[in-house]
């Protein structure tokens, strides 16, 4: 529609032929192309380096095309201490964290639309206002300790269940639905919980999908919770484990640097996994779930941010 109307205008084509316009277009395409490449290349670089010969990779010869393809790096990960466990923890906290927060968000968003609730406005404010203040790191740490949650899996889940911003989104969404939907069910004798399960939850799926995606990505990507509340290695998340690997690699790299020629020899001799190759392989494993589900959830976040911006 838009396009047609533009082309139908009497002078519609005139500007397209202007030289300044053409120059602008070329630069525009060029700059966006370059920026996009900058965004993609690091991922490509890491992937090709993990499947290329480690010797060539260590010499920095793998920049654009993979060479000497092998999958030993990935096989080596199996024997890597703690990685499988960390993957389980990350997966667990992503799945359980997302399911609990989505259900809680939907339920609270729904309950706060029920005008009959005792002191509804007060409790709504009680929940929403927590977006705007924060006790701070140390008080949070002390609280978790007091509650006995440090070094437990639940420290990943419980504090993240109630998300006020998402509750506002869902509440606004439910309020925009026709009231008759719930009224009809109520006349038929459906209680508040049944109305939630059978009517509200199914119609809220679009907004809940958006909430689910953002909390899943958030859970998968967070490392601060491990850093602050967890010392037990069995409960390390993938992100945190990756962080420790990089730090080990960095100290190893600086050791190599300090020993000069000897170090260089050691690096070229390494036909097996190097700290760098391990670090890159783990990175690829950590980023892969995001890369895989990304095309699927891309359409949701535009919707999500639009609904958010209406309120925000």
């Amino acid at each position: 529609m838009k396009k047609e109307s533009k082309e139908n205008l009497p002078n519609g084509g005139k500007y397209k032929t202007k030289v300044s316009d053409r120059v602008f277009d070329v630069f525009n395409y060029l700059i966006f192309g370059i920026f996009t490449l900058i965004c993609i290349y690091p991922f490509y670089y890491m992937i090709i380096n993990t499947i290329s010969s480690n010797e060539l990779s260590a010499q920095g010869l793998i920049n654009f095309i993979p060479r000497g393809i092998h999958f030993e790096n990935y096989k080596a990960l199996i024997s890597l201490n703690g990685l499988g466990n960390a993957a389980l923890v990350s997966l667990g906290k992503t799945v359980i964290g997302t399911v609990t927060t989505v259900l809680a968000t939907a339920f609270l968003g729904y309950m706060f639309t029920q005008e009959r609730m005792w002191k509804r406005k007060f409790w709504y404010r009680f929940v929403v206002i927590i977006m705007y203040f924060n006790a701070g790191l140390i008080p949070m740490f002390i609280t978790m300790k007091t509650l006995g949650l440090t070094n437990t899996f639940w420290v990943y889940i419980l504090p993240c269940i109630v998300q006020p911003f998402n509750i506002i989104l869902v509440k606004t969404y439910i309020e925009s639905l026709p009231k008759s939907l719930q009224e009809a069910a109520e006349i038929d004798g459906a209680g508040v919980l049944r109305r939630f399960w059978q009517i509200v939850l199914p119609v809220c799926t679009p907004i809940l999908a958006t909430v689910a995606i953002f909390s899943a990505v958030g859970q998968w990507n967070s490392y601060q919770d491990t850093l602050i509340y967890i010392t037990d290695q069995k409960l390390y998340s993938l992100q945190y484990l990756l962080y420790t690997y990089i730090n080990q690699a960095s100290s190893l790299a600086s050791m190599v640097k300090n020993t000069g020629v000897q170090g260089l020899n050691a690096a070229t001799m390494a036909t097996q996994q190097t700290p760098t190759s391990i670090q890159m392989t783990v990175s690829v494993v950590v980023v892969l779930p995001i890369l895989c589900i990304y095309p699927m959830f891309q359409r949701f976040f535009v919707k999500g941010i639009m609904i958010g911006s209406v309120k925000g």
Binding site: F24, M111, A135, L137, T143, L158
Partner: protein, 313 residues
């Protein structure tokens, strides 16, 4: 008469009990909110004690405002805090100064008429937003460490003899952090503007075309003014979060070389509290931070109310 009032009372009584039942349904969540958002506030009293972790608070000495006084009187402490505040301010200001970039990104991306190229750009420039800062650091390490891709490449080209220390040095720390932030956030930040552009009334453009407005005039006089309200909201949000840079980004990039310039308030609180074990001092600082933040938020709210007639909260 009495019968009527009776049923009415009954009705009220019933709806009251229903209302209370509804409340009981959400009570577990109210308890969660209380436990993880309100209850932690009691931790602020630690700022007035000399808290040494293995001991309980009652066994520790009450020191009153000692830590707060120390922040303004102890010369080394003052020097450190000033540096941290400077870092926080510079990073936040750079963030605010560049917050116009997503707007331009959206405006110029909108000028690309090739739909495939456009969605390609949009897809892949948003991707970095969805990876964690640990992974960003991993990327940085693979590309910019002493034997990373860039150094090796420059060495092979014969441009450099010794590797450039991109990561483990303190030069241009602010700029580097800004660039990483932009790499991660620029594409994502532009989405809200792209959505706003899509909702601009097309008749405005048509009218402008008839009046003989060119492409750049349309951008300047229609697109950008239409986006300014959104920009204003984002700007106010950024200002109210002036002190809350978070520690995610800075923690992963922090090392002994760049510590002086990378420590923003949030990271500083972590460093002295969790690694330095001065729980009380860290609490005092984060308490002051919270209070200033709330003041800033209220201020932005008032500004927003005055200029746009709408609050941001």
């Amino acid at each position: 008469m009495s019968e009527v009032t009776n049923t009415k009372d009954n009705h009220i009584g019933k709806s009251k009990s229903v209302g209370f039942k509804y409340f009981l349904c959400i009570l577990p969540f109210i308890i969660l909110v209380f436990l993880f958002s309100y209850f932690p506030l009691h931790g602020w009293i630690y700022a007035f004690y000399d808290y040494k972790p293995p001991r309980s608070l009652s066994q520790c000495e009450f020191v009153g405002l000692k830590w707060f006084k120390m922040l303004v009187s102890n010369p080394t402490q003052v020097k450190q805090l000033v540096q941290v505040l400077k870092n926080t301010f510079v990073m936040s200001l750079l963030g605010i100064a560049t917050s116009i970039l997503p707007l331009f990104f959206a405006v110029f991306l909108n000028e690309i008429k090739n739909k495939k190229f456009k969605s390609f750009v949009q897809t892949f420039t948003t991707l970095p937003n969805f990876i964690s800062w640990v992974l960003v650091f991993s990327v940085a390490f693979a590309l910019f460490s002493s034997n990373g891709m860039v150094n090796t490449f420059l060495h092979q080209m014969g441009c450099i003899k010794t590797p450039i220390k991109f990561l483990d040095s303190d030069s241009y720390t602010y700029l580097k952090m800004l660039l990483w932030g932009l790499w991660k956030g620029l594409g994502w930040g532009s989405i809200i503007y792209l959505a706003s552009i899509a909702s601009i009334d097309q008749e405005l453009y048509e009218a402008a075309s008839i009046d003989g407005a060119g492409r750049f005039q349309k951008i300047l006089y229609i697109t950008i003014p239409e986006l300014l309200p959104t920009f204003f909201v984002m700007l106010m949000m950024a200002v109210s979060n002036f002190l809350n840079n978070g520690m995610d980004q800075y923690f992963v990039f922090q090392n002994s070389f760049n510590k002086e310039h990378i420590q923003v308030l949030d990271l500083y609180v972590y460093n002295i509290g969790m690694t330095g074990s001065s729980y009380s001092l860290a609490t005092a600082i984060s308490m002051l931070k919270s209070i200033v933040s709330i003041a800033l938020l209220s201020l932005c709210n008032v500004v927003s109310k005055l200029t746009r007639g709408e609050t941001i909260v």
